[in-house]
């Protein structure tokens, strides 16, 4: 019996080649998209789950109301927690990286090439690193490799980069030009689904010589640069531990913030998809993307499935006789249903076989778009095949069940007498499904366009400063950041192609730090966003002052110790209840900085991404010259319009004079700012690709359907031509009904897309307005492409010789 089904299915596939091709290609494209999206989604939700204790590992995070949501903690927190909560916490590990984007590593063997790199993935970590996490140590004893100062672990590929095929263990490298580290072991490369990536892990004890781990002038419970992860003991409810944090905070934290601070436990496995805090180790992803892509996958699969349903029922005339004969021979309806379902499963099986090489072909593209490293090795995973098998069965059954029921319900008496209605049968359902397909396509088109609009909006929005043509030069812990800063600035300013120079501790427009301040007239500390900057910062960034002035070297008091100056933004002004006339000279007292006076007011600007609101903000020149040197992270250099190359060459030569033993490295401020929207960027690109795919598959279906209609109406067309109808009127006649469907589809797509996109845009503080254009574009696009698809068939039918088509009956 099955053999009979199989052969008839196979012969049907070959006999109706166009039909089969449309179905199989459509399904294959649909399944390819679905598999790709599933791979993406699987990868996204797999983050950090490879640690055997993943369900017990939490990151402790710190909220300081109202301005700070920190992913990192003060240095002593980890130890204090272990002491105070021995019944709850099994282990803890801290990570620290000076909050710098890169750190310099030098390898200078006695008789060999000197290697010098700025390394972006260096962390200091506690020796409990291996007790909390499952990162694999390939060489070395996990209990010893981090337990002394000046030890370092390197990953396998890092070892390869520095030491080639030599044994890395025992090799000595120099960190930031000053500290000699000994390689104590080799780590496996960070898995791509870890929320942070490391190339070097340096023993935490090494930090003692930098003075960070000590009391820090009383600020060790204030400054919070350590990412801290804890493992809860088995069976501990995180809630019960978290409930004790308020007392803990009161007991230890700096008086200026302890009433504002709240600690929370964030599950390790939530970080990648749900966490968007300040000072994240690396930018995380967003669960909305997972949902959006999941929906798109379902959409595309639905469109492909609809093709299947539509074409099978449209073609049912051709199979009616077979059904009749089989029934006469005693076939029961369920046997026929079984047969047709088996057929549709066969279709989807063939489609899957085709989809696998497609996936192989397009996976690198997806990886590039989504910045992932999904490898084709998933093909060997049992889960993958189980999922694939489920798709085969699901698509086969869902797509096949309606046609199967429809076909098997034919009455032999009627079909054998040729009495099954010609156009009528199932036509309404087919129409509905075509509407659904084009509505989905319309939603995807509109969504894609609005995504791009939003992306452009984010990139071109007025940030309140000029982000273009500003070069960022990392200078932390270099002579430039230190004693020689002002000398460096003078040389730069005198150099060609350079307009302005300043420095700051944050990347403007992407990040902020917060500190506590008391405003004149108020009595309590308030947490506010601050940048530590240098003279001319506002000028360099083209900021607009609505009162007062920028920091300047011309005012010695700006950079002297003692009572310093502060520049505030409009929101600050409002919070303080001042105005532009009376603000200058008012007092602001910082917990770190001491007493300061307002010297300028700038218009509000976006110091972090456009997802975040603008709040009270202040620019400060750190009065402590020691701290000031530490916080000179980047030189901001505004360069002249059109000669980047020369300007950069100038900067490099000056930089080299001061810092000979660090690779010259720079970035552009606008690129840094734009890269914050790379999630939206890849969303836009991926959505474009999948929307096009969806439309392609929908058009395949329309192509098939219109060819059936044309075929069924051959006689009518013949008669019309004999009585004088032109090709044009016949094409219109055949296309009209479908165009009406596309119109209805657009009517459905417009409000749905409007609703969905509004929902998405509500994630942003700054959002593009939704105008008519995307909707009109979608309508025009669907009409044109649907019409083009159908007219191919219609013109063919209309041009056929009427004599021939009349004989056909």
């Amino acid at each position: 019996m099955l053999k009979n089904y199989f052969f008839i299915a196979l012969r049907n596939i070959f006999k109706y080649k166009i039909y089969s091709l449309i179905n199989i290609v459509g399904l294959a494209v649909g399944i390819t998209c679905t598999i790709l999206i599933l791979l993406y989604v699987t990868d996204e939700i797999s983050f950090d789950k490879f640690h055997s204790k993943a369900d017990r590992i939490y990151r402790v995070i710190e909220y300081i109301d109202p301005a700070e949501r920190s992913s990192s903690l003060p240095f002593p927190t980890s130890e204090a927690m272990l002491t105070d909560f021995p019944n709850y916490i099994e282990n803890s590990v801290r990570f620290f990286n000076f909050q710098t984007s890169t750190l310099t590593i030098e390898y200078a063997p006695e008789n060999g090439q000197r290697l010098l790199f700025n390394e972006p993935h260096i962390f200091f970590a506690d020796s409990t690193f291996f007790k909390v996490f499952d990162f694999k140590l390939l060489q070395g004893n996990p209990n010893e490799v981090l337990n002394k100062p000046d030890l370092v672990l390197v990953t396998k590929s890092t070892a390869q980069k520095y030491f080639g095929n030599d044994d890395p263990v025992g090799k000595r490298i120099r960190f930031e030009g000053q500290t000699e580290l000994t390689v104590a072991g080799v780590l496996e490369d960070t898995p791509s689904n870890s929320h942070f990536k490391f190339d070097f892990i340096i023993s935490f004890a090494t930090l003692d010589q930098f003075g960070f781990t000590g009391n820090n002038g009383g600020f060790n419970w204030y400054w919070n640069p350590c990412w801290t992860y804890i493992t809860l003991k088995e069976g501990v409810n995180p809630k019960t531990l978290q409930d004790q944090f308020p007392d803990f905070v009161q007991k230890y934290f700096h008086p200026a913030i302890k009433d504002l601070t709240r600690l929370e436990l964030q599950p390790l496995t939530d970080i990648h998809l749900y966490s968007n805090l300040d000072y994240e180790i690396a930018a995380n992803s967003d669960v909305t993307l997972v949902y959006i892509f999941g929906i798109i996958a379902v959409f595309i699969l639905a469109i492909a499935g609809i093709n299947f349903i539509n074409l099978s029922t449209a073609r049912s005339m051709k199979r009616a006789r077979e059904v009749g004969v089989r029934k006469v021979m005693g076939a029961l309806p369920q046997q026929l249903i079984g047969q047709f379902l088996a057929e549709s499963v066969l279709f989807s099986l063939i489609a899957i076989l085709l989809a696998i090489p497609f996936v192989y072909l397009f996976l690198p593209g997806l990886n590039a778009l989504a910045a992932k490293q999904i490898s084709f090795t998933f093909i060997t995973s049992g889960v993958f095949w189980a999922a694939l098998f489920s798709i085969v069965v699901l698509v086969g059954l869902v797509g096949g069940i309606y046609p199967a029921l429809f076909l098997s319900s034919f009455q032999p008496v009627k079909v054998l007498a040729g009495k099954v209605g010609k156009l009528g049968s199932g036509a309404m359902l087919r129409k509905l499904l075509v509407v659904a397909q084009f509505a989905i396509s319309g939603i995807l088109i509109i969504g894609t366009i609005i995504t791009y609009n939003q992306l452009n909006h984010l990139r071109s929005a007025n940030l309140g400063f000029d982000k273009d043509q500003v070069l960022l030069l990392p200078i932390q812990r270099t002579p430039i950041g230190g004693q020689q800063y002002y000398q460096f600035v003078d040389r730069m300013k005198n150099s060609e192609n350079i307009i302005q120079v300043s420095a700051g501790n944050m990347v403007m427009g992407t990040e902020t730090q917060t500190a506590s301040y008391i405003i004149e007239g108020k009595d309590k500390e308030i947490m506010m966003s601050t940048y530590f900057v240098e003279p001319d910062f506002g000028k360099t960034l083209g900021m607009e002052f609505i009162a007062g002035r920028d920091f300047s070297t011309e005012f010695a008091s700006d950079t002297a110790s003692g009572i310093g100056g502060v520049i505030i933004n409009e929101s600050f002004l409002k919070l303080a209840g001042w105005n532009t006339d009376n603000a200058l000279g008012k007092r602001v007292t910082g917990t770190l900085e001491g007493e300061m006076r307002v010297i300028g007011v700038v218009k509000d600007f976006h110091y972090t991404s456009l997802r975040q609101p603008v709040a009270p903000f202040l620019f400060v020149i750190n009065p402590n010259s020691q701290a000031r040197q530490f916080f000179r992270s980047f030189a901001y250099i505004r360069i002249k319009g059109n000669n980047y190359k020369n300007a950069i060459a100038n900067i490099e030569s000056i930089f080299k004079d001061y810092v000979p033993n660090r690779p010259f490295e720079y970035s552009f401020l606008d690129e840094k700012i734009n890269s914050q929207y790379k999630g939206e960027d890849s969303l836009g690109k991926i959505a474009t690709v999948f929307s096009l795919m969806a439309i392609f598959v929908a058009c395949l279906g329309l192509f098939g359907l219109s060819s059936f209609t044309a075929e069924q109406r051959t006689k009518e067309i013949g008669i019309r031509k004999v009585v004088g109808a032109s090709v044009g009127t016949i094409v219109m006649l055949l296309s009209k009904q479908f165009l009406i469907l596309v119109a209805v589809a657009n009517l459905i797509a417009w409000p749905s897309a409007f609703y969905l996109m509004n929902l998405w845009l509500s994630n942003f503080q700054t959002r593009t307005s939704i105008d008519l254009l995307p909707f009109i574009t979608a309508a025009v696009f669907t009409f044109v492409i649907a019409f083009a698809t159908m007219s191919f068939q219609a013109i063919k039918a209309a041009q056929a010789n009427p004599v021939k088509s009349l004989k056909y009956e």
Binding site: N4, G324, V325, R326, V328, G330, P333, Q335, V413, L416
Partner: protein
Amino acid sequence: MIRTVDLVKVYRTEDVETTALNKVNIDIKKGEFVSIMGPSGCGKSTLLNILGLLDNPNGGEFHFLDHEVSKYSERQRAQLRKENIGFVFQSFNLIDELTVFENVELPLLYLGYSSSERKDKVNAVLERMEIMHRTSHFPQQLSGGQQQRVAVARAIVSNPKIILADEPTGNLDSERGDEVMSLLTSLNEQGTTIVMVTHSPTYAEYGNRVIHLFDGHVVTENIKDKEKFHV
């Protein structure tokens, strides 16, 4: 074997109601060869479909092999049908996507025969129909006469007690028509009951009696071998 009492079949479409059969009483004994004649539209096919358990009547009684089947469900009819009835149609109704062998095999599949049994039976019947050399051809590669022989082979492969044929010669030239008629006659001689609709008086004469239908009524019954069947 087959007995109807006041059999009624009415077709209802949106606006018209057609009474295709109006109180038809017939009685067919085992081993008979009955021809049904009548003008186009008088209800011959309708009657045959009901006799063949493809359709239910709207009224009257229908006794088939001692079962009162007029109210049977499709499932019950399918069971009786596949075990007892073979069909031959004017338009052959072979499945284009199946080979000759597979077409003939079809009834056996639904009867649940094993593959070796099916092979034996199909080969035997194809041999008898003299189309052995065409077993792996597809219907469209055969002539009309050959196709009808395949259809007959399919009708008899499961040894049905009764064969219903609706204008089996309608699409054939006279030579092929004669062939099919002699086939049916020989089947009847071997004990199979045959009910055949035909427009040809000559072919009708192959039967032992002819039932004339007109406008849904039985008008005359022309019985040849009254004594043989004790009507």
